[in-house]
């Protein structure tokens, strides 16, 4: 964090005027940042908590905020795997004691969560503060961030239900993170100085050592894995993903009928993923009308496609009953178009 004092500013300007410092070479380029400007953008929080704003928040307040702003993507308990990988779960009391998540080495962990991985609590604070909620980043005040983080820590059974997290006690919480000892920087993929010269990493020494053998390098070829049949077709018609002339052609993975079927199945999946199938059936009404009912009503209208796209996007009420359809701004425009065309073509 940069704390600009008036004295330093004056001194810096004075030295610029008298000494031959580097920034005189680019006269007229750039200007000093004001204190307010630096404060507005300098929001990073480091593992030593440099940059951490003052504030506090309780688990209870965090619970309320999480339900309101976070649960739709992460699930009420941070357990959801629908939109992003889960935040909480996968650790034990022993992990908290040892600072290493045992499930990471034992293979017992079905899926890594944020708290099975993260070793520094500043990381989570920083990320919530700068990037969450997903659709309205940087809208949370420091107290909100402390509260949400307190709720997550309670979900993870690191702090009790009556805990209030603050800038004063966050360093103590750090000492309870279940994977706080789970990171190593001793590898060749950090390009800076090695640890013994004050950097991190091992100075760039690789961990594999293949040799460039040229003749009779091994007695036989061991195939470890081949492409499963479902994976051959899961990426659609490969013939259409290659140039149609030249030394090779894309392999035809789907026939014309299979291609249509795959497109239909893909659209049904898209409708399910986009949340449409929760309220609409293929033929009959669930909460909203069935798709064949929609088709029957709109099929003769020339502007049906654009009207339906607008309706699905903005939501509506009254056409099919009293329960409103919520706006569907989370669905991409191109997906909306695909879905509406699918409905108007007699969805299957």
């Amino acid at each position: 964090m940069f704390r600009f004092s008036k004295t330093i500013l004056v001194l810096a300007l004075a030295s610029a005027a008298t000494a031959a410092v580097a920034f005189e070479n680019y006269q007229g380029v750039g200007r000093p940042a004001t204190t307010a400007e630096v404060k507005a953008w300098d929001i990073d929080v480091r593992p030593d908590f440099k940059g951490l704003p003052k504030g506090s928040g309780s688990v209870d307040r965090g619970n309320e905020l999480f339900e309101e702003k976070c649960a739709s993507c992460h699930g009420s308990f941070g357990e959801s795997n629908e939109v992003f990988t889960p935040l909480a779960g996968g650790t034990t009391k022993d992990d908290v004691k040892n600072g290493r998540v045992r499930g990471l080495s034992s293979g017992e962990l079905p899926q890594r969560t944020t708290f099975t991985k993260v070793a520094t609590i500043s990381t989570v604070f920083d990320y919530i503060q700068r990037a969450m909620p997903w659709t309205a980043p940087k809208s949370l005040k420091p107290d909100d961030v402390f509260a949400i983080l307190a709720y997550l820590l309670n979900l993870q059974e690191i702090v009790p239900a009556d805990f209030v997290l603050s800038d004063k006690n966050i360093a103590d919480v750090q000492k309870l993170l279940p994977n706080r000892n789970g990171m190593t920087t001793e590898h060749g993929m950090w390009p800076g100085a090695p640890a013994k010269k004050g950097g991190i990493g091992n100075g760039g020494k690789p961990d594999t050592a293949n040799k460039a053998c040229m003749k009779n390098c091994k007695p036989e070829v061991l195939i470890g894995s081949t492409l499963p049949e479902y994976a051959r077709t899961a990426h659609g018609e490969l013939a259409d993903q290659n140039r149609s002339f030249g030394p090779v052609r894309g392999t035809r993975t789907l026939g014309p009928e299979a291609a249509k079927k795959a497109a239909d199945a893909g659209t049904l999946e898209l409708a399910t993923k986009s949340g449409c199938m929760a309220c609409h059936g293929m033929k009959s009404k669930i909460v909203g009308p069935g798709y064949s009912e929609v088709l029957a009503r709109y099929k003769d209208q020339t502007d049906a496609e654009s009207r339906l796209i607008a309706k699905v996007k903005a939501g509506g009420q009254g056409v099919w009953g009293s329960i409103p359809m919520p706006p569907n701004t989370h669905v991409k425009d191109e997906d909306l178009k695909t879905l509406v065309q699918w409905i108007l073509n007699g969805s299957k």
Binding site: D126, T184, N210
Partner: protein, 448 residues
């Protein structure tokens, strides 16, 4: 058929794409009226074509097509230019099921159809963490500040107008996402080189060395050993960069790409270029540089982009993309047209410098031959390699193996997994194998 190279001027059957598959089948079944109608349609705009017998030669030669006998489009019909309408198939594509939210997803570059080493800007892979914006350059600012007063004499703000007045460099570098080939750590998962290796692109970038800006602000290199780069998108992506790389002059703040401004999907109007280092560090929509005396442990170096080892430890701050190569022609999901001669072609790269040598095997790694490296061979850039091959129609397994100027040899899957297990996600630089079967179909396999 095997002697195709000894048969110059060999005639091919019906020209590709001229007939639909159904029409080809109809012709094959003896119904030639389809063929006649199609030929007629093609020439109808001009004059009734003279029907030629196949024995006289190729109708594409014997009958002048419309583009030879009529007036073409005037200049600037497409003021920014567009690819040919016949080039509609090679596109950036998503891998189904990989990500559930488009704003935090990946689109892959179609390596299977690209030439040379430069990726067309419109086909450059995308990876966003909170969706992309088309930022107004007149409102964009770059701030340089210190995490402490002692590290930097003066925090400064630059506009694009100002940055573009400064001395610039233009350099060709590859950018590869740390997760490239990550789908394949455990086993073969995807069919084509677009999905196995397409989080890879290479461009000529133009901009100002970050060193110039830090020195302009009066950095103290003795104390400031790390740089935090931060983006202006919703996620305000942040990554720690080692000061050694900045001091070397390699790292630069880029606005230009392949002769034009950056595309919005690639960070318009400003992104960081960190040669040899995984793409997540090349912060897009760059708005702030902070110099510090400690690394930052940001989300993408403490929760994601960390490599899980068999011991249960995660490797943190992994950055360098080690030497790697892949054959792009022929590659998975393609089918060879015929037996005979092929120029086998591919790409090699290393985050530690220049590519020194690429070897190719046609028998699954038992025997190797050294490929031709095509110029230019540049530091931390893609290098194109080619090698001659006459396919005799029998099964084959094609592999390529890159060696960089440090002497590092690209590892096999067996060697890589022996050290890093199978759950790592990031930094998979194992040797890729493509299996060719008698039908000419090429598919993805892993050789240990």
């Amino acid at each position: 058929m095997g002697d195709i190279v000894k048969q110059p001027g060999r005639l091919r059957p019906a020209p590709e794409n001229f007939l639909t598959e159904e029409q080809v089948q109809a012709v094959g079944a003896g119904r030639r009226d389809f063929l006649r109608k199609s030929l007629f349609a093609a020439g109808a705009a001009l004059a009734v074509p003279k029907m030629v017998r196949a024995s006289e030669g190729d109708p594409n030669i014997l009958e002048n097509p419309a583009w030879t006998t009529s007036l073409g489009q005037p200049v600037a019909t497409n003021p920014y230019g567009l690819p040919s309408k016949y080039e509609s198939q090679l596109l950036r594509r998503e891998s189904p099921g990989l990500a559930r939210v488009g704003g935090a997803s990946v689109s892959f570059a179609p390596l299977q159809g690209l030439f040379g080493i430069i990726t067309p800007s419109g086909l450059h892979f995308e990876r966003h963490h909170q969706g992309w914006h088309d930022i107004d350059p007149s409102k964009h600012r770059l701030m340089v500040n210190g995490s402490d007063d002692s590290l930097l004499k003066k925090a400064k703000v630059y506009t694009l107008d100002e940055l573009m007045r400064l001395p610039s460099v233009s350099r060709i570098h590859f950018i590869e996402c740390g997760a490239n080939t990550g789908l394949e750590w455990g086993n073969v998962a995807v069919p084509t080189v677009q999905y196995t290796h397409g989080m890879l692109s290479c461009s000529e970038f133009t901009g100002v060395p970050l060193k110039v800006l830090l020195e302009d602000c009066g950095v103290d290199y003795k104390k400031a050993r790390y740089v935090l780069a931060e983006g202006a998108d919703g996620s305000s992506m942040t990554r720690t960069i080692p000061m050694e790389m900045v001091e070397s002059g390699e790292v630069f703040v880029a606005y230009g790409q392949n002769g034009e401004m950056l595309r919005p999907e690639n960070g318009y109007p400003l992104r960081l270029v960190v040669p040899g280092v995984q793409g997540v560090s090349w912060v897009k929509w760059l708005r702030r540089i902070e110099v510090g005396d400690k690394p930052y442990a940001t989300k993408d170096e403490a929760v994601h982009y960390i490599d899980l080892l068999p011991s249960g430890l995660h490797r943190q701050y992994s950055s360098i993309q080690e030497a790697k190569s892949v054959i792009t022609t022929p590659s998975g999901g393609q089918t060879l047209l015929d037996k005979g001669f092929y120029n086998v072609s591919g790409l090699a790269w290393s985050g530690r410098g220049k590519i020194k040598q690429v070897d190719v095997s046609f028998d699954g790694g038992i025997n190797w031959q050294t490929a031709r490296l095509e110029g230019p061979i540049q530091n931390k850039a893609l290098t194109r390699f080619n090698i001659n091959w006459v396919w005799d129609g029998s099964p084959a397994i094609l592999q390529s193996r890159a060696i960089d100027e440090t002497g590092f040899v690209q590892p096999s899957y067996g060697q890589l997994r022996a050290v890093r297990g199978t759950k790592s996600i990031y930094h998979n630089n194992a040797i890729q194998s493509w299996k060719v079967i008698e039908s000419g179909e090429v598919s993805n396999v892993q050789v240990l």
